[in-house]
């Protein structure tokens, strides 16, 4: 299995409201409200950390879920966000000079 790297896109607006991350895509104006798990994936999407590491080190210790199941869900989630231009996905680290966005 090849590694998957994810990076937050700059073409989004994001804000934390009552502990929940709200994201709006500038591409299609879709508004997302992220769950606890999705919020962790979003916050860890620095382009350098493999998705498998995010699942293993950040999600599985906090939630009662098998690693394989969590990874499958994470893959589906990242693909959905990528389809709205919110995340970028690559099989190599995403190390461009674009500073990663993070919700404030």
């Amino acid at each position: 299995m090849s590694e998957r790297y994810i990076a937050r896109s700059r073409a989004v607006a994001a804000r934390v409201l009552d502990g929940e991350v709200m994201i709006m895509s500038a591409t299609d104006s879709t508004l997302f409200s992220l769950s606890d798990v999705a919020t962790i994936i979003w916050q860890e999407a620095d382009g350098r950390t493999p998705l498998s590491s995010i699942v293993k080190n950040r999600i599985c210790p906090e939630f009662d879920v098998a690693q394989d199941d969590a990874y499958r869900d994470a893959e589906a989630f990242t693909e959905r966000l990528a389809s709205h231009g919110i995340l970028r996905i690559s099989d190599r680290p995403i190390l461009d000079d674009e500073p990663p966005a993070s919700a404030s």
Partner: protein, 365 residues
Amino acid sequence: MSLVQQLNQKALAHGVALSVHLDLTYRCNERCEHCYLEHDDRGEMSTSEIRTLLSQLADAGVFFLTLSGGEPLVRNDCFEIIEYARDLQFNVKLKTNAILIREKEAARLKTLGVQQVQISLYSHQAEVHDAITKVQGSLERTLAGIRVLRAQGLNVSVANVLMKSNASDSEAVRALAGEFGAHYTLDPTITPMIDGGTEVLRHRASAADVAGVFHNSALVGNVEEFCAPPQAVDEGILEGLPCSAGHTACYISPYGDLYPCVQFPLPCGNVRRQSFPEIWQESPQLADVRSIRGKDLETCSACSHLGTCSRCPGLAYMEGNMRGPSSVDCEKSLFRTGIPSAAMMASGRTTRPTFRPSLVQIQLA
């Protein structure tokens, strides 16, 4: 309930200003006949002051940021401000006449991830549009701006204002917006000058033209539903909030004055003297605005239109009482449904009322 409605409810519950409208300048390169602003610069906030303000807004949870003016692009630092706002992850909407937007500027806005560019367009005919803006060639330049923005794939909204001078052109403007793949809005409200002056109201469209807007399915959707007689006023409506102004939204002038809304000139503080959170949380004026419920509205609380009226508390404030009726909205309810409002009945007027501003407070830093 949609996600946006949920977001608004959550912001309301937590006292968060979800939306802020920030005018970067009152200066403008057009002189629109219906404009509510004076265009002299009386000491705009500097780039540094605006950066500080934006940081405060982001920390306070503001998500939707509208940057407007005047014409915001006459500021040399406009792109720097937009870039900083985007670094802070705001959802940025830019209101402009697009006169200063060429390919380079459009590409920059695209790169910065601006959510929407709203562009004022009053007619498809140069002789009409340019007469309203008082700038020869402005239509041509605005259309060129829209073209390059759309070529970048940016979300463009064409904003028209219904006036005497352009009432017969609104359908053609809508069609033009459609050709560009842009959204279209038509506002039949002419707002009094921000200093209370009413001379601009002479540009208001006729009653028949305003009524025509409300009965145009292309603009309002289901006309039968939109123009239906109001339903009975229930407890939920009486306990409801008049609008988001001061609750989850506010307006900040180029001089740092904070108001509940751009159309609600009740001074609540100045971000040059206090931080945004201090004003938002502690302003007695905002507390007063927030205390108002439907049942507290004088005359309106007994009006059958209460649940569906577009009543603007800011326009009511400019008429002398933010708990009172807004005659412009009484008029809209009448034109929409054919049923006079309680305020119109009480005054014996069941035709177009007269706007009578009697209290306007403007505080300039």
